[in-house]
C-alpha cells in the first residue's frame, strides 16, 4: 500500500516536472484545463491527456510583470510558470470561463504563450432556459477545436468510452470518501489530497488501476480516532489547500472526514448519465446539475449554507474549517453568510486564509489550536 501512496505523493509534489517528462517520453498531447468544471471527457476522447493545472511551489518572479499581486495564488503562479517556460509541455489550454480571474488568466496565457487557448463558456445559471443551448454551443466549438488540434475525430464511440472511464474514476473516489467517512483517519488529509490531485494529472484509466489497488488494501484497515475531533473542510475552490495547513490541523488533534473542495469531493461528486439523448447533452446535463454549490454560480435551487450544515451532520463532524484563498472574491463574499448560517445551526467554524506566499506558521497554529480548545470544551 505504501508503494501506491508514494506514487500519488510523487505526482502531487512535482506535477509539472512529471508532466514534462511524460511529454518527452511518450509525445502524448497534453491539454491544460484551468479550474474548475472543464468537461474533460471530450479532451480524453480526442486522445489527449487532460490535466487540471495546479498552483506551483516557486516564488513568483516574472509573473509580477503580467499580473498584479492581489489575485489568487493559482492564477499568479500559472502566469509565472508560463513566463518561465515551465508549461511548454502543453499543447493547448482549455478555459472554463468561470470568473474574472480565470477568464483573465486565459487571456494572459493566450498573449504570452504560443499554445492555442480554447474556451468553454459555462453560463453559471442552471435555472435559465437560455443556458443549455449556449453551453452546448460552447462544448461543440471546443470539441471541433480539439479535433483540429489532435487530428482525431471525437466519435460517439470514443466519447462513450471516455465517459465510462471517467464515471468509473469518480465512483472509485466516492468509494474512498465513503470509506473515510465510516473510518475516520484511514488516510490522512495530505494523502487524500495527493490521491485527488494525481487523478487530475494522469490518464483516468491509469488512476483507476491504482485506486482499485489502494481500495482493496484499505478495506481491512481499522484506524483509531479516539480523542480526535472530526472536521469538515470547505472552500479551497480552484486551489489545493497547503500541505502545511492540513498537517497542522491533524497535529492539533483533528481528523478530516469530508470536504467540498475542488481537490476533493467537488471534483468527482457527480457522473455523466448516458441515456437516450446525445452524449453531449448528457455532458451538459451534468454541468447543470452539479450537487455542490459554487460561489461563482447563481442558482436559486441550492443554498451553500444549508449544504454545509447537511455535510457536517451527515459526516458526523464536530466543526468546519473554511479554507479561503486570499483574493478569491467569490468565496470571500459568501463567507459571512455561511458562517452566520453555521452559527445558527450551532456548528463551530474557523476561517483559515491562505495565499501563495508561505503562510505564517505561528499564527495559523494558534488559530487552529484555539479552535480545537474551544470545541473540546463543548
Amino acid at each position: 500500500m505504501e508503494e501506491v501512496l508514494t506514487k500519488f505523493k510523487t505526482m502531487a509534489e512535482k506535477p509539472y516536472e512529471m508532466l514534462a517528462k511524460r511529454k518527452e517520453e511518450t509525445g502524448i498531447k497534453i491539454v491544460g484545463c484551468l479550474p474548475m468544471y472543464v468537461p474533460e471527457e471530450i479532451i480524453h476522447a480526442a486522445g489527449a491527456l487532460p490535466v487540471v493545472l495546479q498552483e506551483g511551489d516557486e516564488p513568483i518572479t516574472l509573473g509580477h510583470s503580467k499580473i498584479q499581486s492581489f489575485f489568487c495564488g493559482i492564477v499568479r503562479s500559472i502566469v509565472d510558470l508560463a513566463l518561465k517556460s515551465k508549461l511548454n509541455f502543453l499543447d493547448a489550454v482549455v478555459s472554463p470561463e468561470i470568473d474574472l480571474t480565470i477568464n483573465g488568466l486565459a487571456n494572459i496565457l493566450q498573449t504570452n504563450m504560443s499554445v492555442p487557448v480554447f474556451r468553454i463558456y459555462q453560463p453559471p445559471f442552471p435555472g435559465k432556459s437560455t443556458t443549455p443551448g449556449l453551453l452546448l454551443r460552447e462544448i461543440k466549438k471546443c470539441k471541433s477545436d480539439l479535433e483540429d488540434l489532435t487530428g482525431q475525430e471525437i466519435t460517439d464511440e470514443r466519447l462513450k468510452r471516455s465517459i465510462e472511464i471517467y464515471n468509473k474514476n469518480r465512483g472509485l473516489m466516492r468509494e474512498l470518501y465513503d470509506l473515510r467517512k465510516k473510518k475516520p483517519g484511514i488516510l490522512n488529509s495530505v494523502q487524500v489530497r495527493s490521491i485527488v490531485m494525481a487523478s487530475m494529472l494522469m490518464l483516468k484509466e491509469e488512476h483507476n488501476q491504482l485506486m482499485e489497488n489502494l481500495l482493496s488494501k484499505l478495506k481491512n484497515q481499522n484506524p483509531s480516532s479516539k480523542n480526535k475531533v472530526n472536521l469538515v473542510l470547505s472552500g479551497a475552490v480552484c486551489e489545493a489547500p497547503p500541505v502545511d495547513m492540513l498537517n497542522m490541523l491533524e497535529e492539533a488533534g483533528a481528523v478530516i472526514v469530508n470536504d467540498d473542495i475542488y481537490t476533493g469531493a467537488r471534483y468527482f461528486c457527480s457522473d455523466v448519465k448516458v441515456g437516450n439523448g446525445s452524449l453531449l447533452d448528457a455532458i451538459v446535463e451534468r454541468q447543470l446539475t452539479w450537487p455542490i454549490p459554487c460561489p461563482t454560480k447563481i442558482d436559486e435551487g441550492i443554498d451553500w449554507g444549508d449544504y454545509l450544515i447537511d455535510l457536517v451532520k451527515s459526516s458526523k463532524a464536530q466543526g468546519l474549517i473554511h479554507l479561503v484563498v486570499k483574493y478569491c472574491q467569490p468565496h470571500e463574499m459568501y463567507y459571512p453568510y455561511l458562517s452566520k448560517k453555521l452559527a445558527k445551526a450551532g456548528i463551530p467554524d474557523l476561517k483559515l486564509e491562505f495565499e501563495h506566499e508561505t503562510i505564517s506558521m505561528g499564527s495559523t497554529k494558534t488559530r487552529i489550536q484555539a479552535f480545537m480548545e474551544m470545541i473540546k470544551k463543548r
Binding site: Q68, D99, L100, G104, N107, P124, T130, Q329, Y335
Partner: protein
Amino acid sequence: MEEKKKYLVNRVKTTKEVQNMMIEYYSGLQTAHQDGKFLAWTFGPIPFEIMRAMDIRFEHLESYGAYLAARSGQQRLKELSEADGYSNDVCSYARLTRGVAMLHERGETASIPNVLIVDLPDFLVAIRHCPLQGSVYDYQKRLLNKPGFCLDTMPIHSEEDYQESIRYMRRQLEEFIVFLEDLTKTKLNFDRLKEIMGYVKEGAVIRKRMLNLCKARPAPINTFDHFISLGPAHTQRGRKEAVEFWKRLEAEVEERVNNKVGVIENERFRLYWHNLPIWFRVGRLSETLARYGAVLVSASYTHEGFYAHEPEKIDPDDPLTSIAREESWLSWLSSDITQGAYLLQKEIEDYSIDGMIMCSHRTCQFVDVGEYDLADLITRKTGVPNVVIDADPTDPAFYSDAQTETRIQAFMETLESSKRRSAASLQK
C-alpha cells in the same frame, strides 16, 4: 500684480448641473415607496431603459458607490460590512451596498452626514458583466430575501460570438420583461420604451460628437469632467432632461474649441486614463496633472462605454436589439484584448496622446487582469509610454496620495525629457 489662480483647471460650467440632477435622483430613491413606486437595487450595466419605461425606480451599485465615495460617506458603510465579516479584499462597491442594508437593519439611515441613503429594494436586478456582479447580486438577494433577476453575458472573442451574444441577450431581455411585468402587475408600454430609446440615441449621438471635440488642441474639456458627468449617460439616460444637458454641454465645449480656450493654460501633455476613475480623488488629480501642464483627453471608461460606440446605429424602433448590441459590445471590449487594444491605438492617434495612465484597482479587479499586457502592447506599437498607479474606485484605505503623486511626477519627468530629446533631435 497678477492674482494667483486658486485652481489651475478651467472646468466647464455645465457639468455643475449634474450635481442637482443626481441629488434629485437620489432623493427619488429615498422616497420611492412613499411615492408609490417600485424600487430595485441594480448591479452592473443593466438596461435602465426598460425599468424607466415601467416607471420603476432603480439604485445602481457602481453609481451609488461613486456618489458615496465622492462625498466621503463610505467610511461608516465599509466598517459596518467589515464588522459583518467581509474581508476588505472584497469589491468596495459590494461592501458599500452591504453597509447600506445594515444601516437599515440598525435603523441608522440618517447617521451619515451629507449623503442620501436609498431605501431598501423591492427586488434586485443584475447583469453579470463583471462576473462578480453575479455573486454580489446573489448573496445580497439571499440576505435581503427579495426576488430578483440576473441577466447573463457571454465572453466574446470573435464576430461569430458577438452575433450569438446579441441573440443570447435578446432572449434574456424578453424573459426579464416578463419578470418585471409579473412583479409589478403592469405591462411594459413598448411605445414608451421606443420613446426612451429615441432619447438615448439623441443623447448618445450628441455626447459622441462632444467627446470627439477633445481631439482639438488645446483640449476644451478634461476627461475628469466627463467622469463626473456620467449620470446623464448612465442612470439618467433616456430622459429628455439628459438630452438637454448634452446639448448645453456640447455648446459650451464647441465655443471653447472655436475660441481656442483650453482646460489648462499651458497644455504640454495629453493623457489617457485606463480603468475606472478614483471616485474620491477626481478633482484633486486633475489639479495635480495640471501642475505639470497635463490634461486628460480620453479614458476607457467614458469613451468606450455608455453608448459611445456607434450611437448612430441605435434603432429606437427595435430597442431590445439595440440594448443587446450595446451589452454585447461592452462584453467584447472586456473579454478580448484585441478590441480594447484596437480602440486605444486609434485614440492615441486621434487625440494626440502623449502618455497613458493605467490605473490598477485593488478590489475592483475586472479591468485589472490583462492591463499590464495591454499597456505593454500599446507602448510597443506606438511608442507612447505608460505609468501604473495603484488605487481603488471607492476605498481610500488602498490609496496613498504620496505614492500616486510620486509616480505621476516621475512619469511627467519622463515625458518632459523625451519631449526635450525629440525637440533637440529636430534642431540637429
